[in-house]
Each structure stands twice: as structure tokens, then as C-alpha cells.
Symmetry: C2
Subunit: 342 residues, 2 copies
């Protein structure tokens, strides 16, 4: 597999990105990495590192898209951005997958414009792995689409289902809609309509799941629109951090504070490892003609290494092809209706 | 103040409810409680307790609405439910406020039908206090309205603002819209339209706030539709529980497990106290002609005692009257537009 890696994307680029690439090369055999970015900056980062040189290539991309830029105008203006050149490599068949921890809006837009949505997919979606104290679940859409239709949610369910089956190895993934009550009649207009579509589809649909139950590991795939998905994702990140911070405050305020902290330090470490986004590496953008992995903006070298691993696995298993087949097997009649209506 | 208390509502009714009422009577002077429910069951619970008898009255209500019942049909069928009779007491002027930990859908419907929305309020909303490691914030709407308009969100902002000012004592509450990016252009259709209305209103509007920032205590009032609000509320509950559970697992798995657990036990206790819904007691339904406090279904005696305290404070400060004035001071022109348009 050949992975195109945006060397300029993310808060700690290019150093953490190049470091992650080197770690991936040394840890996983049989994989090539194309580092896309400012040639001199990337070469500087590589200089003192040890890695198999024949498995690395640098593609010069002199521009970088900054986090605050509006994605569409940035794409128009910067034809030589590192994200664009990385996506172009997949389009040209020079790479099997693209990984970027940079501007996720630009990445999504470029994936759509350059690679295109898979035939039959109305809206690609971001699938994110969320930890629970049993087993992790897939949250889809985690932020690609803010206003969604019931057909969109059905397709998110099918794509998440394929992910859970073929990548996570869960034989009959439990698929649920994130809503505010378990009964069919509970929810908003979108979830109520989506409920009927998911019920009719070839899925192990377990109905609605409430926010309080998702972290109990009740479902393998939790479906929602990208606005809610992103809020759930960010709220969870913020809350988990706040909980740890509050606990540390509480421990520090005890008479046995320092000693107590020493005792639970390794427990906190174990917990952080389980819940750390860096362990997951990156979230795939599903429903695209190709493998696109979106890394966290704060990606460390470890996060990049893991994102590369995810990209490799998705490409190897031809997940985007499986998803295309699943979507077309399931949604042709609905798609017909939608086209007729719209 | 006279508080009408639904003695049959909640998972631990009537015992926890009556117990909470007795605790409130003994702790707070100058307050009367009307226990509404099955006369015999309530009297049984009171029998061995010590309390000022002249400040307690029982009103017999032979029916109870169960948690799973569809609210509207339950209300129609059960004219003598404890929630209904409790709300009726406020309508008749025999009580100043109503508290129920029972069926929240039934409580909302009855509040609307019997007491009515305040003049000018399109949709009453539930305001819930959420803990952070700085100071708690108000989440509104926490679940009363699943599909909302920008005008609804503006009114939620105004009601939450009044709550923060007059009950929490924050002089210029920072009001924010829960969204997926801080810039004005980020969000879904609803939040983008609402942004303009909140910006034009007489509020200390700080713009959008992301999920990851709410628990950092950035805003005093966080505004969203009730679908998202309820998901955030439930997700937070579920996640906080999961985090504690995962941490305990981690600690138990260490060689020093038992000892470490002893050390942090009191830290966990302190943390739980800060984040426990029972400490807040209940969430007011704002925008109603009267004071209605919705308790958590799992309410313990302490939660009920605190909910009674909240009800007492809201009534004493005539919060519903303040809210009516704020809404009318701020939204008349918008209201006019809306009426003209619709």
C-alpha cells in the first residue's frame, strides 16, 4: 500500500507528522509513504531519523491551508496546497489512501471534488470510533453534514455497518439511531422518518439509543446527523477532560492528596490510553471513491502512526468498494423515490 | 410559599418523595408542602416521621401516570393523576409551585394545558444546571421541544438569561449558542438564523460555543433545541458514569488496586457531589404561568428536598413574572414579524 500523507496538516506539523510516518515505516513492513508538503521542511525533519529510505518519497507542495480559512475559497486559491496534492496522488493512482490532520473541511471538499462520492452515495460521512468501558462504537456522521435527510441517515447506517463488519470484525453489528427516547415515536422529525428506513433495510437495527446508553456500549454503530454527531464528539472530549481535571482537583484538596495522586496516576494513564483519540489515529471519510482518513488537529506522532495504520487497513480491505456495493444493494428503491421527488 | 409535590412520581415514589418533603420541612422554615398522591400510601410513609404537622397537607389523587405511558392519552384518561392534581392546585391558587419527579412529558403537557404559556412565549423550555470545574451553566432547552425555530431559540436565550441573573445571581450572563464552530457562519440552518436574532437582542451574547468548551465554563447560558439539549444532557450523564466506572476498573487492575481505591474514594465522593443531579434537585420549566420544577426520574430524598428548595426560590422571586416581562420587552418586534409571516 502507498499512503499519501499531508505533512503540513495539524497543530504539530510538520515535525509530529514526519515523526509519525517514520514510526509507521519502522513498525509496519510492506507500506510506502509519500510525504506531501514543503520539500525543505520535510527533508529537514527526516535528516536525523532512521527509516527505510526506499519506502519514502517526498512530493513538494509549497502551500498549506490554515485551520481558520474558509475551505472552499482556500481550495480555489491554493492549487498547490499539501492536502490537495495528497488527494491528487490518490486520484492519479500514485497512492492508495490519503491521510491528513489538517483542515478537515478542506479535506472533505477536496475528497468530494477530486475523488468524488461513490456511486449511489448522496453524502459522504465521517465515522469516528468512540471508546466505552465495554467495546468501542462507531459514531457516524461525526461532522461532515450539518443538515441531513432520512435517506442520508440510512446511508450513514449502511456505511457504518460495513465499517463495523469488515474493519472491526463484528459479525452482525447492532445499529441504532441516536435519539431522545427508545420508542419508535420518540425523537425529532428526522429521526422518526429515518427510523422507518433503517427498520426496512438489511441491518441489525436495534432502534433508538439515548445519549446515556451509548457509552454503555449498547450499539456498534450510532447514527445521527453531523451537527449532533460533532456536538456529541466534542462534548464527550470536553467532558472527559473536565472529569479528569475535577478529579485531580478533588484529590489535590484531600489531606492525603499527593500520595493519593501517586496511587491513581497509572490508573489515569491507563484510562487516557483507552480514551485517547491518538490511539484511534484518524476517522475515515466514508462514501468516497478512495480511502481518506481525517486525523485530529492535535495529532501527535502516535496519532499519525495510527492514522496511517487505519488508512492501510481500509485500503487493503477495499472498504470503499464494499461500501459502494452495500449502498447500492440497499438503497436503490429509496434513491429512485428521492430522485423522483427532488 | 406553598409547594404542591407529586408524591407518586419517580422511580422511588412515594417513599423517597415523602422523605424528601419531610427533610425540606425540617430544614427550611416558612414553607408548606401539599403531598399529592394516594392518601393511604402517603400517610403510611409519614407515620413514623417527625415533622411540623401544621405545614403539611395531603391531597388524595388515586391515579399515577407510569413512565412509559404516552403523555397525552395518559392525561386524557387519568383525570385524577397525582401530577394533574398537583398542577391544578397551582392553577386554583392553593399552591405557589409544583414539583414532580414523575413523567416529564405529562408534566410539561399539563403545565401548558392547565397553567398555560406566559403571554408572548411560543414554547416553554426546560432549563438544566450543568456542572463544570469552574461554575455551573444553564443548558436550555434540555428536552421540552424537539424541533425548534430561531425565535424559539431566542426566547430560550432570554429565559435562560433571566434565570442566570435572578436566581444564580450572575450580573451579565454570557449567553452562547451550542454549535459546531465558533464563527457566525458555522452551524446548521437553525443555529445560523438564531445567531442573528441573539446578536440583535438585549443579551450579553458571546456567539457560538462548541461542545468541547461548555464544560470549561465559558458560558453561563448555553442555548440549543431540546433534541440536542437532551442528547447532550444524557450523553454527559452516561459519559460521566462511564468515566468513573472505567477509572475504577483501571484502579482495580493495578497491583496497588485496593489501596489506591481507598485513597481516591473521598475524591470520587467529592466529585460525585459536585456533579450529582440530586444536588440541583430539579429543572424548572420556564415560560409557564407559574413555577413548575421537573425532578429527575431517579430522584432520591435529597434530590426532592433540593427540588423543593428550587421551587421555593423560583416562586419567592416571582421568576415566571420576570421572564414574562423580559420576553415581552425583547421579542415584540420579532413576534410581530413572525405573526405577519405565519
Amino acid at each position: 500500500m502507498i499512503i499519501a500523507l499531508d505533512a503540513m496538516g495539524g497543530d504539530h506539523a510538520p515535525s509530529a507528522i514526519v515523526e509519525g510516518a517514520v514510526e509507521a515505516l519502522n513498525e509496519y513492513g510492506d507500506m510506502e509513504i509519500v510525504l506531501v508538503g514543503d520539500e525543505r521542511a520535510v527533508a529537514d525533519e527526516l535528516r536525523d531519523k532512521s527509516f527505510p529510505p526506499l519506502r519514502v518519497r517526498i512530493v513538494h507542495a509549497p502551500e498549506a491551508i490554515a485551520m481558520g480559512e474558509p475551505p472552499l475559497s482556500a481550495i480555489r486559491k491554493k492549487k498547490n496546497s499539501s492536502i490537495r496534492r495528497a488527494v491528487d496522488l490518490v486520484k492519479a493512482g500514485e497512492a492508495d489512501a490519503v491521510v491528513s490532520a489538517g483542515h478537515s473541511g478542506a479535506m472533505m471538499a477536496l475528497a468530494l471534488i477530486v475523488l468524488g462520492a461513490s456511486a449511489g452515495v448522496e453524502r459522504p460521512a465521517i465515522a469516528t470510533i468512540m471508546p466505552t468501558f465495554k467495546k468501542p462504537f462507531i459514531l457516524i456522521d461525526a461532522g461532515a453534514n450539518v443538515d441531513c435527510s432520512p435517506l442520508n441517515l440510512l446511508q450513514f447506517a449502511l456505511m457504518g455497518n460495513a465499517y463495523a463488519k469488515h474493519i472491526l470484525g463484528r459479525p452482525a453489528p447492532k445499529v441504532a439511531i441516536l435519539s431522545i427516547g427508545e420508542e419508535e415515536g420518540k425523537g425529532n422529525e428526522l429521526t422518526k422518518e429515518s427510523f422507518k428506513l433503517l427498520q426496512a433495510a438489511d441491518l441489525n437495527f436495534i432502534g433508538n439509543v439515548e445519549g446515556k446508553d451509548i457509552f454503555a456500549g449498547e450499539a456498534d454503530v450510532v447514527v445521527c446527523d453531523g451537527f449532533i454527531g460533532n456536538i456529541v464528539l466534542k462534548t464527550s472530549e470536553g467532558l472527559a477532560e473536565a472529569v479528569i481535571k475535577m478529579l485531580k482537583q478533588e484529590i489535590a484538596s484531600l489531606p492525603t492528596g499527593r500520595l493519593g495522586y501517586l496511587f491513581i496516576k497509572s490508573a489515569l494513564k491507563g484510562f487516557k490510553k483507552k480514551t485517547d483519540y491518538a490511539e484511534q489515529g484518524g476517522s475515515p471519510l466514508l462514501g468516497i471513491n478512495g480511502t481518506c482518513i481525517i486525523g485530529h488537529g492535535r495529532s501527535t506522532a502516535k496519532a499519525i502512526k495510527n492514522a496511517i495504520k487505519v488508512a492501510d487497513e481500509f485500503s487493503r480491505k477495499k472498504t470503499h468498494e464494499i461500501i459502494r456495493q452495500e449502498i447500492n444493494r440497499n438503497t436503490l428503491p429509496v434513491k429512485g423515490n428521492t430522485l423522483a421527488a427532488g
